[in-house]
């Protein structure tokens, strides 16, 4: 499979030689190709390495530059020693964990129910869970700002006064494109009806069927949905920043504006590494039998 001028060029060369009436070079060309890496592949890997790894290396170097002008790992230590950073990280981690829990509690029973009782709702579910992609985060934030302005006092106290209550419900919505697809793929891979019938016939209630029969069978898919949700919560900045909540990514931006560039870059590196590890782990989970969790949404 070639998709570049390179592949096409070689094919033309080959055709040319055939037309010239020389000996068929096919076998020789194949052998030569196998022996040496193809130019078009090497080219893109080199370009990708420069473009993608370059800025990351630069960021790593920057993250080692401390406020006192020396190089060292002090900026990384700020994640523990700087109380503003620590409290914003705690907030973000709390949001992430609670959002992941809401996502599972909301999505798993709904998806099971749709599969069992109303499979004709499946296209509707697919469409609805894609909606957060259609609505840009900045527009969502604008809507929330208007709600916040017009909200009665009790609602401000109950919901908008703390990032945990204000952001978590909406992050669960933003995570729907990922979480729905991850869990739905897991549910599709098991023989749901047989499992449920067997469990019900043996006298299990719906809740214990869900918790003790279905959940263990789709645990990798559920874990995948939770990983993706956590990654989203640790990365989301637009809504939190526009609504003036001090989450971890918002604190990173603030640190840069206070010209603690080294610290903000160090925190970026930690975030990137952590999110990468989440998704890397996910790729191993996806390999196991019942959970083809994937980052692909569309």
């Amino acid at each position: 499979m070639s998709f570049t001028g390179m592949g096409g060029f070689r094919a033309e060369e080959l055709v040319g030689q055939e037309l010239a009436g020389g000996p068929l070079p096919t076998a020789g060309v194949r052998a030569r190709r196998r022996g040496r890496p193809r130019v078009w592949r090497v080219t893109i890997f080199v370009l990708a390495a420069i473009f993608f790894v370059g800025p990351l290396l630069a960021a790593f170097k920057f993250s080692l530059l401390q406020d006192n002008g020396h190089y060292g790992f002090a900026n990384y230590g700020q994640i523990l020693s700087n109380s503003a950073v620590r409290s914003s990280l705690t907030t973000s981690l709390e949001i992430a964990v609670i959002t992941a829990a809401i996502v599972v509690i909301l999505m798993l029973p709904t998806i099971v129910w749709v599969r069992l009782r109303q499979p004709k709702l499946t296209p509707v579910m697919e469409l609805v869970t894609l909606l957060p992609i259609v609505i840009p985060p900045v527009v969502m934030a604008a809507g929330l700002e208007v709600l916040q302005e017009d909200a009665p006092q009790w609602m401000i106290k109950l919901v908008f006064n703390h990032p945990l209550t204000a952001l978590t419900p909406f992050y669960a919505v933003l995570a729907m494109p990922f979480s729905y697809r991850a869990i739905d793929t897991g549910i599709r891979a098991i023989d749901l009806r047989t499992l449920v019938d067997a469990s019900r016939n043996l006298g299990a209630s719906w809740s214990s069927t869900l918790l003790r029969v279905i959940l263990p069978n789709v645990q990798t898919a559920v874990l995948g949905a939770m990983f993706l949700t956590v990654a989203l919560c640790l990365g989301e900045v637009v809504i939190a920043s526009l609504l003036l909540y001090n989450t971890f990514p918002v604190e990173m931006v603030a640190l840069r504006l206070q010209s603690h560039v080294g610290v903000s870059v160090a925190l970026s590196m930690i975030t990137l590494l952590f999110t990468f590890l989440l998704l890397f782990l996910l790729s191993f989970l996806a390999q196991r039998r019942h959970g083809a969790a994937s980052v692909r949404v569309l």
């Binding site: 499979m1 998709f3 570049t4 592949g7 096409g8 094919a11 080959l14 055709v15 592949r41 893109i44 990708a48 993608f52 800025p55 290396l57 630069a58 960021a59 170097k61 920057f62 993250s63 909301l106 709904t110 129910w113 749709v114 009782r117 109303q118 609805v128 909606l131 259609v134 609505i135 840009p136 900045v138 527009v139 934030a141 604008a142 809507g143 208007v146 709600l147 419900p169 669960a172 919505v173 990654a231 990365g235 900045v237 637009v238 526009l242 990514p249 990173m252 931006v253 840069r256 560039v261 870059v265 970026s268 975030t271 990137l272 990468f276 998704l279 996910l282 790729s283 980052v295 569309l298």
Partner: protein, 282 residues
């Protein structure tokens, strides 16, 4: 799970979506379509079209989305093709897929900072280039310009293209190439008559998604420049937050509705080409 029969099972999910997605959406649309005294009007929309600054922001956003999606598509397909033809199931696949996921969906702020470290005024690449005589910043480049922000966008557009196009590339069966060559097609002939026609709908569809993705993105620009960059999300941000003038927040909401409409058009286009793509690639 008591109301499991009939339609009861959908109620919690439907209520949740209505409250936390439907309500903010309703507030935006309602605010965009009314005056301060709560009368129905289209004037917010017509005002956004007549303001030169908003028109400029739309133009900037569309141009930015267009070139970053095209560049992302070309290099994304290229990279995905190189990865797909490598050893399947290997470490390379895993690492490329995982890092693509991180960069495409979850890394707005960190990747902006990586670019500041590389191409900012005292960035590593900027200094390296100065050593060999290329002075980016005296040549008119800044990271907070449209070009600089766009370069950052390409950093998440390429990975998104890799994620979107990889299944289509994997769906190209080796038997098709063998069959084509068995029937006497050259490699070029196979590409022109089999691979390209099969892949084209997926490529067009994925590029549309990249366009919509860049159009609605704001995190990277926010971390890089703040709300002063002249693109639509930044205009919404300052209209809502800035208190520049009376009624500005309704204009912000109207801009928001216009953004949603642009993305809806993109998604319908995606859906149309995707129907064609599904014919071959299951």
């Amino acid at each position: 799970m008591a109301g499991f029969g009939g339609w009861g099972g959908i109620v919690p999910f439907a209520a949740y979506v209505a409250l936390f997605l439907g309500l903010p959406l309703y507030v935006v649309v309602h605010g965009a379509l009314t005056t301060d005294s709560n009368h129905f009007t289209f004037s917010n929309f017509s005002t956004t079209f007549s303001y030169p600054s908003y028109r400029q922001a739309f133009e900037n956003s569309l141009i930015l989305s267009l070139w970053t999606s095209l560049l992302g598509a070309v290099f994304g397909i290229w990279l995905a093709a190189a990865v797909v033809t490598a050893k399947p199931g290997g470490m390379l696949h895993r690492i490329v897929q995982s890092s693509s996921g991180v960069l495409a969906y979850f890394a707005g702020v960190p990747l902006a900072f990586a670019f500041i470290a590389a191409l900012g005024e005292v960035g590593v690449a900027t200094l390296l280039l100065r050593h060999i005589g290329i002075n980016l910043y005296t040549d008119g480049f800044t990271l907070s310009s449209m070009l600089g922000v766009g370069l950052c966008y390409v950093y998440f557009q390429i990975p998104l293209m890799v994620i979107l196009i990889t299944p289509a590339l994997e769906g190209l069966r080796p038997e098709w190439q063998e069959a084509a060559q068995g029937l006497g097609a050259s490699k070029l002939g196979y590409l022109r008559h089999v691979a390209v026609p099969v892949l084209l709908p997926s490529v067009v569809g994925s590029t549309l998604i990249l366009f919509g993705n860049a159009f609605s993105a704001y995190a990277t620009a926010l971390a890089l420049v703040g709300s002063t960059l002249d693109i639509v999300p930044a205009q919404i941000d300052s209209a809502i937050n800035g208190n520049v003038e009376v009624g500005a927040d309704r204009l912000g909401l109207a801009l928001g509705v216009e953004m949603i409409l642009v993305i809806l058009v993109v998604m319908v286009g995606y859906w149309l080409v995707q129907r064609r793509a599904r014919r071959w690639l299951q």
